[in-house]
C-alpha cells in the first residue's frame, strides 16, 4: 500500500498550481462579479492542456487519467473557490472522456479538437423538469425518421448554456429511445446548441457559481446527424452512469480543493488575529474546530483520491467491478461537498465580520459548493441510494 502521489503527479500538481496562481487567480474576482470566465482565460487553460484533459492526444487532449484530472480539479477550485471555473473544467473532463470512449470516430474528429482548444464548450444535458436524479424518467425523445435522428423535449438546470450558445459546442444528452424499456430504453447523443434550428434556450439567475451559466434547453424537432449517437442504441443508461462516476469524482475533487484553500487561509488568519490580547488560534473553541475540520478534510481527500485511483485502475488494468466503482465514487461525492461547506462556513466565521464580506472571497465558495449539496451531478440522497444498493443489493433499491 502506498498513499503518496508519484513524482510526475507531484510535479503536475506544482505545475497546475503555478499556472492557476499566475493565470487564473488574477481573474477570480472578475469571474465572480461579471458572471463569466473570459474566453481568453479558457483558451489559455486549453493551451496549458487543462480543458478536456482526459481526452486522448489525437484530439488535442492530454489523455490524462483520473488521478491527474483530480489534481487539476483541486487546483482550479483552490484559486476560483466559486466553483465556476472548476465546473467548466470538470464537465468537459468527465463527459469529454465518455465521448472519447463511446462516440463515433467522425463525431470525435468534428467535436473534440475544438473542446481541447478551448474554442467550444462540452456539457452534460441530463436533468429535465420532472427531476434530475431519476434519469429513468427522462422523456426527451430521440427518434429515427428516414435515417435521420430527430430530438424533441426539454432539458433544464444545464451548466454552460450561455457558453455553449455563445462559443459553440454542445451537450452529451441523455435521451429516451424506447419509453417502454425504462433504463434500458435510454440512449446518449451529442446535441449541438449554437445556431441550431429548433433549439431555444433561457438562463437562470443562480445563488452561486456565477461565472458559469445555468439554463434551459428547449428542443423542438431538432435534427442531428446519425453519427452523433454516442455508443449503441438503448445503452445510454450504462454510459451515463459511467460518465457520472467520472464527473462526480472531479466534483468531489473540486470541493476539497476549495475547502483546502479556505482552511489554509483560515489557519493563517487565526494565528494572526488577536482577541483579548491572544491569537484566536489559542482559544480551544477555535483550535478544536480547526482540528476537526482538518481531519474531515483529510478523510474526504482520501475518499476522493481512492475513487480517482480506482477509476484509473479500472480503465488501465481492468480491476474493480462497476459496483465497487459506483460505491467508491458515491462515498466521495457524498462526503466532499458537505465537508467543504462546513469548512468554508467555519473559516468564514473565524474571519468574523470580514468573512461576511464579498471581498474575503469565502461566501462565494459557500454558495458554489452548495450547488453540489443540492444535487448538481447527482444529489446527496442519490449517493446514499447508490451506496445502499451496492451494499444491500438491488432488491432493496427504492425504485
Amino acid at each position: 500500500m502506498d498513499f503518496s502521489f508519484t513524482e510526475e503527479q507531484e510535479l503536475f500538481r506544482r505545475s497546475v498550481r503555478e499556472f492557476c496562481e499566475k493565470k487564473l487567480a488574477p481573474w477570480a474576482n472578475e469571474i465572480n462579479e461579471k458572471g463569466e470566465i473570459p474566453h481568453a482565460i479558457l483558451k489559455e487553460m486549453a493551451s496549458f492542456g487543462l480543458l478536456g484533459i482526459t481526452i486522448s492526444e489525437r484530439y488535442g487532449g492530454s489523455g490524462a487519467g483520473f488521478i491527474n484530472a483530480t489534481i487539476a480539479a483541486e487546483e482550479i477550485a483552490r484559486v476560483d473557490v466559486s466553483m465556476a471555473t472548476a465546473v467548466y473544467y470538470l464537465v468537459e473532463a468527465g463527459w469529454g472522456f465518455l465521448m472519447d470512449r463511446y462516440a463515433s470516430e467522425k463525431a470525435k474528429e468534428e467535436i473534440l479538437p475544438d473542446i481541447t482548444k478551448g474554442k467550444t464548450f462540452l456539457g452534460i444535458a441530463s436533468t429535465e423538469a420532472t427531476g434530475g436524479s431519476d434519469i429513468a424518467s427522462i422523456s426527451t425523445r430521440l427518434e429515427k425518421r428516414n435515417g435521420k435522428l430527430i430530438l424533441n423535449g426539454a432539458k433544464t438546470f444545464i451548466s454552460g448554456v450561455r457558453e455553449a450558445t455563445r462559443y459553440g459546442g454542445g451537450y452529451v444528452t441523455i435521451v429516451n429511445t424506447n419509453p417502454d424499456l425504462k433504463n434500458k430504453g435510454l440512449s446518449l447523443c451529442y446535441l449541438p446548441v449554437k445556431d441550431v434550428k429548433g433549439i431555444t434556450t433561457s438562463i437562470f439567475e443562480q445563488m452561486g457559481r456565477e461565472g458559469i451559466s445555468t439554463g434551459t434547453i428547449n428542443i423542438n424537432n431538432v435534427e442531428i446527424p446519425e453519427h452523433f449517437l454516442i455508443g449503441e442504441w438503448n445503452r445510454g443508461f450504462y454510459y451515463a452512469m459511467e460518465g457520472f462516476n467520472c464527473a462526480r469524482t472531479l466534483v468531489a475533487a473540486a470541493c476539497i480543493g476549495a475547502a483546502e484553500k479556505a482552511l489554509e487561509s483560515g489557519i493563517e488568519y487565526i494565528k494572526e488575529r488577536h482577541v483579548f490580547g491572544t491569537p484566536l488560534a489559542k482559544f480551544e473553541g477555535i483550535q478544536f474546530q480547526m482540528a476537526e475540520e482538518y481531519t474531515k478534510l483529510e478523510a474526504a481527500k482520501l475518499l476522493v483520491h481512492k475513487a480517482a485511483w480506482m477509476l484509473d485502475q479500472m480503465y488501465a488494468e481492468n480491476r474493480f467491478s462497476i459496483g465497487e466503482i459506483n460505491k467508491a465514487v458515491a462515498t466521495a461525492k457524498l462526503v466532499a461537498p458537505t465537508t467543504a461547506f462546513d469548512i468554508i462556513k467555519d473559516v468564514l466565521t473565524w474571519y468574523g465580520a470580514y468573512g461576511y464580506t464579498r471581498e474575503a472571497g469565502l461566501e462565494r465558495g459557500l454558495r458554489g459548493v452548495y450547488s453540489y449539496i443540492i444535487g448538481a451531478e447527482g444529489a446527496q440522497n442519490i449517493m446514499k441510494i447508490i451506496i445502499g444498493r451496492e451494499i444491500l443489493g438491488k432488491e432493496f433499491a427504492p425504485y
Partner: protein
C-alpha cells in the same frame, strides 16, 4: 592587510569605515584599491595605503589587477562593494585563489584571527553566520549599509601601479540608459504604500515620486484599490490582496487593519507615516512618524533625492 575595493566611490568610503574597525582590532593595515585615479580621499576615508592602478575598471581588468596585488601583498581579507560589478569580480577572484566569498555581508566581527560575517538568506527571513576556511577571506558589502567616516587629518601612502592587462575579449557594443521598471509587487525590495490618508487620486504622484527615488514599487491598502479604484489591484497589499516581503515597507496614511498587517508581516523593516498617533500601524512598525503625509512625504522625497 585588508584590501578594499569598489568601483563605486561612495561604497568604497562606506567599506573603508567598516574595514577600519576590523583593522584597528587586529592592528593590520588597509589598502584601498583604486582604478583610473581620483583616489586621494581614501586615506581620509580610512585607508593606510592606496594602491592606484592606472587603468579604467572593467570586470576582466579588475579581476586581473586585484589578483596580481593579492599575489604581491598576500592580504588576509578582501572587501568588495556589492554592486553588480563587485558581485561579479569577487567570486571570480575567489575561484582564482581557491577561496570562499560571502555575498552581501551586513555585519563583521572577529573570532580570534578569523573573520565572522552575517548575511541574510532564505528569502531574507533568516540570518546566516559564516566564517572563512581559507584565505584571502573575501566578502562583498552592500552599498549604503555602513556610514562613511572621513578624517582629513589621517596620513597614508599612495602607491602607483602600472598595469597592462591582457586585452579583454568582451566587446562592448553599446550602452543604454534605463527607464524606471515595472515590477511585481511581491518581488519588490522596497514598497511605498498608501492608504485612505490620501485625499485625491492626483496626489498619488507624491507617493510615486517617493517610490521613484529608490526604484521602489507602489503599494496601497484595500480602500485605494477596491473602493476608490485609484490603483489597479496589482498594487493592493493585504491578506486578500498581495502578501509582500520587501526589505523596506513604507506605509503612508495607512491605519493598519489586521488584514493589511497580515499582508506585510514578512517585511524586514516597516516604516509608518500617519497623522493619527493611535493608528494601529504604529504598533506594527519599526519606525513611525506622526504627521500629515502632505507635509512629510514631499520633504522626505527631497531629502532622499539629495542623498541618493
Amino acid at each position: 592587510m585588508i584590501f578594499v575595493f569598489s568601483e563605486d566611490n561612495e561604497t568604497s568610503f562606506e567599506i573603508l569605515a567598516e574595514a577600519r574597525k576590523l583593522a584597528d582590532s587586529s592592528k593590520s593595515k588597509i589598502a584601498a584599491i583604486s582604478f583610473g585615479g581620483g583616489e586621494d580621499d581614501y586615506i581620509a576615508g580610512g585607508a593606510d595605503i592606496i594602491l592606484s592602478i592606472n587603468i579604467e575598471p572593467h570586470e576582466d581588468s579588475v579581476v586581473e589587477g586585484i589578483s596580481q596585488l593579492i599575489d604581491q601583498y598576500n592580504p588576509e581579507i578582501l572587501l568588495i562593494g556589492s554592486t553588480k560589478f563587485g558581485r561579479e569580480v569577487a567570486p571570480r577572484i575567489g575561484q582564482r585563489f581557491g577561496a570562499g566569498c560571502a555575498t552581501d555581508c551586513i555585519d563583521f566581527s572577529k573570532d580570534n584571527e578569523n573573520l565572522i560575517v552575517k548575511r541574510l538568506v532564505l528569502g531574507g527571513r533568516f540570518i546566516a553566520t559564516q566564517r572563512f576556511l581559507r584565505k584571502p577571506r573575501i566578502a562583498t558589502v552592500p552599498p549604503r549599509r555602513f556610514e562613511k567616516n572621513i578624517d582629513k587629518s589621517r596620513k597614508g601612502e599612495i602607491i602607483k601601479i602600472s598595469f597592462y592587462p591582457a586585452e579583454t575579449r568582451v566587446q562592448v557594443m553599446e550602452t543604454k540608459k534605463k527607464a524606471p521598471q515595472e515590477m511585481r509587487i511581491e518581488e519588490a525590495n522596497i514598497i511605498v504604500s498608501v492608504g485612505r490618508g490620501l485625499k485625491k487620486k492626483e496626489d498619488l504622484k507624491l507617493i510615486e515620486a517617493l517610490a521613484n527615488v529608490f526604484g521602489g514599487a507602489m503599494g496601497c491598502s484595500r480602500s485605494i484599490a477596491v473602493d476608490l479604484k485609484w490603483l489597479p489591484e496589482e498594487h493592493w497589499v493585504g491578506l486578500s490582496g498581495h502578501k509582500v516581503n520587501p526589505r523596506l515597507y513604507i506605509a503612508i496614511g495607512i491605519s493598519g487593519q489586521v488584514q493589511h498587517i497580515a499582508g506585510i508581516r514578512d517585511s524586514r523593516t516597516i516604516i509608518a507615516i500617519n497623522k493619527d498617533p493611535n493608528a494601529p500601524i504604529f504598533k506594527a512598525c519599526d519606525y513611525g512618524i506622526v504627521g500629515d503625509l502632505y507635509d512629510i512625504v514631499p520633504r522626505l522625497t527631497e531629502i532622499l533625492k539629495k542623498q541618493s
